[in-house]
């Protein structure tokens, strides 16, 4: 059973539909016991970082999320909240990954948010990207990004800025793009996650 983390950050409908299409069983929950006992965790999110973190703290989910041991997939804002801090309203995040989430520089001339289909390169060995071709296009919608670092699993570039399209450490995965909206490539990635 997959548990989708229930909190106040945006629309999880698309993630639910994507899992339904893949025939996955899932629950949407903010109950620490349900989350701890799930086989897999999906941590989606669209929205603003500080509001989301406040909610997670109030419901004490912050401590739960960073101490889970099963395969965990953060999506978009979910990935950003897994980092140490975000410059979006100076937010302290979950600190699973030691990065500061930063905003794209409008002065570089590209339109912000980074919205649309962009190409990623990744560590071919990682099972999350099994069967996916390098330079595949996936769907992004974001104004803030995670810099490159040693946990970077996939890379992308926008506004002349290379950034982490995916992070990986232990059981924790996070993707900046939306696999639930990334066509067949995204479905493949979600399926790979289900099979971890």
């Amino acid at each position: 059973m997959i548990a989708i983390v229930k909190y106040n950050a945006g629309n999880i409908q698309s993630v639910k539909y994507a899992l339904e299409r893949l025939g996955a069983e899932f629950v949407v929950s903010d109950d620490p016991n349900v989350l701890r006992n799930a086989d897999k965790i999906i941590f989606p999110g669209v929205g603003e970082a500080s509001t989301a973190m406040n909610y997670l703290k109030q419901s004490r989910l912050d401590e739960v999320l960073k101490t889970l041991t099963q395969p965990f997939l953060g999506i978009c804002l979910g990935l950003q909240l897994m980092c140490k801090t975000s410059v979006e309203n100076d937010t302290k995040c979950l600190d699973i990954f030691d990065y500061q989430v930063t905003k794209f520089d409008e002065a570089k001339g590209d339109k912000i948010p980074h919205m649309g289909w962009n190409q990623i390169t990744f560590d071919q060995e990682n099972p999350l990207f099994k069967g996916i071709s390098q330079n595949s296009f996936v769907y992004f919608v974001h104004s803030y990004y995670v810099p490159l670092g040693k946990e970077t699993l996939a890379k992308c570039e926008y506004a002349q800025t290379p950034f982490s399209a995916a992070l990986f450490k232990d059981n924790y995965y996070g993707v900046q793009f939306h696999p639930e909206k990334s066509g067949v490539i995204g479905s493949k990635l979600l399926k790979n996650f289900m099979e971890l």
Partner: protein, 255 residues
């Protein structure tokens, strides 16, 4: 590199797609989810659904359609037509739409844009501008509302900037002069708006040939291009269009 997007637009009425869609391999051309799935499989990068239902019960039928579409495709889609309130948007987004498009209601109350942006994020607020050449206006174009029937007495460029400042995430720019002509997008108009705002511009109106898409992505500086009938009637197939654009050096998502 960020891909230029190809976006088919579907008109819907009473929960069904209309406007003479002509696909031989469709069992039911009025079934929005079936058509959406077909376009998604063909490589459309996004879809736009424009609701032209006039009745008050529309919200319920539209939400039902959005749910059906969202459960059958895995690419982003926008829903527009008669959206007036935060509640309208809430229903559509929670049913699975990725973005909503507003036109007349944004002119009546530009604060609706900021309210929507604050509630749901700028990325899901598309402002549709229907514009027509008019030398009385500084930019040379005037905006229209109510499906192009009513003049707003507002300059297209001014409005594009104002709506961007209010929190629009994208502009869907339709040239009423070019719409239906099939002789190419309004290149000057698109370039002018696209270069003056900091948000993506979707060009609409005038698509007839593959070259037109090339022109609007290069000279017209558009981030995405939308078309309806040429796709629906199979005059241009999306895979052929994409191959053409890739061969011409445009960044395009091929599937």
């Amino acid at each position: 590199m960020l891909a230029k997007r190809i976006i088919p637009c579907l008109d819907v009425k009473d929960g069904r797609t209309v406007k003479g869609v002509n696909f031989i391999d469709l069992i039911d051309a009025g079934d929005a989810s079936e058509l959406a799935k077909l376009y998604s499989d063909l490589g459309a990068d996004e879809l736009v659904f424009l609701d032209i239902t006039a009745t008050v019960e529309k919200r319920a039928t539209l939400a039902k359609l959005v749910k059906k579409v969202a459960s059958s495709i895995n690419i982003p889609f926008t829903v527009g037509g008669g959206i007036n309130t935060i509640e309208d948007v809430e229903v559509l987004l929670s049913s699975g739409a990725d973005k909503i498009s507003i036109n007349s209601s944004a002119f009546k109350d530009p604060n609706l844009i900021s309210n929507l942006a604050n509630n749901f994020g700028t990325q899901c607020v598309v402002c549709a501008l229907d514009v027509k050449k008019d030398s009385r206006f500084k930019s040379g174009y005037q905006c229209y509302i109510h499906g192009g029937r009513i003049e707003t007495n507002r300059d297209a460029l001014e409005i594009a900037k104002e709506f961007t400042d209010k929190g629009a995430g994208e502009i869907l720019l339709t040239s009423m002069d070019k719409d239906g002509t099939k002789d190419g997008f309004a290149l000057d108009l698109n370039a002018m708006i696209s270069q003056s705002v900091t948000i993506p511009v979707i060009a609409s109106g005038g698509a007839g040939k593959c070259e037109h898409f090339y022109d609007v992505f290069t000279q017209g500086k558009a981030d995405a291009a939308l078309a309806a009938s040429i796709f629906h009637f199979g005059e241009i197939s999306i895979p052929d269009l994409k191959t053409y654009l890739v061969n011409k050096g445009i960044s395009i998502r091929e599937i």
